[in-house]
Symmetry: C2
Subunit: 370 residues, 2 copies
């Protein structure tokens, strides 16, 4: 699985793995892929530094990258308290009622919510970057829109490639104009924030729209067959996120959540605004059903919704309240049926890829080649 981009980055397989877990990121790169650590949960620079140190000690000198959430547009002089004040009381009451209905316990006194809006704010992302540029990262990915011009310039000064996620050819062209190096075409079936265009249609459209920029296909990819299909569609690599959630190196801190992921079928996800205010694919739960119910108050726009539900989500996760317990994940969750090591996932990907290439060669009448 070698493309121009994988050769440029010096990796064996054109498989990019996005993960919030340092152990998974390191294992992806050690297995011959390209690990990308999601930084959104790091609010303290020292925590990020500690985990990047860990990666450096365990990645065997292989290349890796970092994924931040950095808006191109600044919102000046707005504090988290200002944003908090914009949340209607009726919505707060709906959160309290829904949690009470399911008997979700309170957090202990002084216990912080695990997820805060702060990771989404520009000053936090910039602090993350100050840390990240102390390390030999090879890729900086931005999960929401194009990164600011000065960040792109700073990355390029250090020979760090910049990637950005796009759900349409129009978004992809905007990224190209912003000077980024790689577009991640994120299809409808992907976990997390997605648009409505499915990978089968989106991948070749984005490839054509930003030619000659390399494109990574994201969404619906968890087997070697799907890797082969995505590369057939013109991508220079694949960007996998969901598949790592049930690897042995992942640390979800919740056996119940791991169990739900292993049990879920491809039809058990929903593209809902419940988590952040923008449509994001996640496990369908009674929590997402409550927010998507026309009889409920509905969701608030980003970033209000994320702030509104942050503590509730922490409580649901901490106490593993199963009917409400979810996580962002793509439709490929139906293929996540056993806990495997990252290396075992790679072994399956490469074997499945070779078999799929054999198959399409037979169909093309090139049977001597398969």
């Amino acid at each position: 699985m070698q493309t121009e981009l994988s050769r440029k980055l010096g990796v064996e397989h054109a498989v990019f793995g996005f993960t919030p877990f340092p152990a998974v990121a390191a294992a992806i790169s050690r297995a011959g892929g390209f690990g990308v650590l999601g930084a959104v949960r790091y609010t303290a620079p020292d925590d990020l530094r500690r985990d990047l140190d860990w990666i450096e000690a365990h990645i065997g000198g292989r290349p890796y990258g970092l994924d931040v959430v950095m808006p191109a547009k600044k919102v000046e002089g707005v504090s988290e308290a200002d944003v908090e004040a914009m949340i209607p009381e009726g919505h707060r009451q709906f959160v309290r009622d829904t949690l009470a209905k399911h008997g979700v316990p309170e957090l202990a006194e002084g216990e912080a919510s695990g997820w805060r809006i702060t990771g989404w704010m520009e000053q936090v992302a910039r602090t993350q970057l100050d840390v990240a540029f102390d390390y030999p990262i090879r890729l900086l990915a931005n999960a929401l829109g194009s990164p600011p011009a000065d960040v792109v310039a700073r990355a390029h000064d250090r020979r760090v490639l910049v990637a950005a996620l796009a759900g349409s050819a129009r978004h992809a062209r905007k990224h190209q104009e912003a000077g980024i190096d790689i577009v991640v075409a994120q299809g409808y079936e992907a976990g997390g924030h997605t648009g409505e265009i499915a990978s089968m249609v989106l991948t070749p459209e984005v490839v054509e729209a930003v030619d000659p920029l390399p494109v990574l296909a994201a969404g619906g990819i968890g087997t070697g067959q799907q890797v082969a299909a995505a590369l057939t569609l013109g991508a220079q690599g694949v960007w996998l996120g969901s598949i790592w959630l049930t690897t042995t190196e992942a640390d979800l801190h919740s056996p119940a959540l791991t169990g739900r992921l292993l049990a879920a079928g491809s039809g058990d996800t929903v593209r809902s605004r419940a988590l952040t205010g923008k449509p994001a694919r996640q496990l369908r739960t009674e929590w997402t059903d409550a927010w998507d119910d026309p009889a409920g108050p509905g969701t608030l726009p980003m970033p209000l919704q994320g702030l509104l539900v942050a503590e509730a989500v922490s409580r649901i996760q901490k106490y593993e309240v199963e009917p409400l317990l979810g996580t962002p994940v793509g439709q490929i969750v139906g293929r996540m049926t056993s806990e495997r090591s990252v290396q075992a996932v790679f072994d399956d990907l490469t074997r499945g890829f070779e078999q799929a290439v054999d198959r399409v060669n037979r169909i093309a009448g090139r049977s001597g080649q398969s």
Copy 2:
């Protein structure tokens, strides 16, 4: 593009083309694919007989099939008038208001609506079958659920293969239990009735679920690259519907509609209940927006919605009222940018397929083979 199934049917390319136009169906088979005529619009048996005669005269002895809409469950003793009586007056008024707002003229006195519920009713489908079995069709496809057991048996007696559309692995297994021969896995991105699982995920799931039955991939396929990707995912062929709508052999009777299709991007469709009461992907228009607007009355369940809007849709189409003018079509509409002959579409498909296979062979390090 040869698979076990295409060899069994004696066609050169494993490309199945669904179309309501006899001239397109004949051209697909003449070009080396397998043309499938949609029968839902034929309410008079003689009309179907006339068009099948035309196909026989123009298809050059190539194989072809027929697509009917036949529910497995009978609804006994319910007439169209009974169904009409179940439509609330408020919904009828909403139709009148929406048409009036856009100045849509009335049909002439005695002029029939072009689309009626009758094509969806079992007695009509059975009459269609009585006609069809007089012709040497090789495939009978059912667009909605599994066909009744006696119809499957009747087809098999005549060595006619039976296909059924499925939007999930569970649906596909039900078809298999009903004794059908081919499953069409219809992804989220497809035109017409679709589920929520995208082709990239659905195709391999259905292939695995019904093994060893052959699966055709539908949804998001309009280029040779996409054909190659679908076959890589394990399909024994592809099922294309949208791509033929803008061929020179198609007869939409509406230059304005053809123009809208040629201009639309992949983001200009919507999966809406506006047409039939079940989610069907179609061009997004002010008509679908009105039905999908939370401030409106909302859609009725199938078959009420189809009956409610039948005359309105005929009027919109006849008078080409552009803001309301739509048609079922998949996300691949973004690739339909010029009118081409069916043969030209096939030439592009086969050339693109070969290039995609070359590309994936290079990535797999089999460069001597590309």
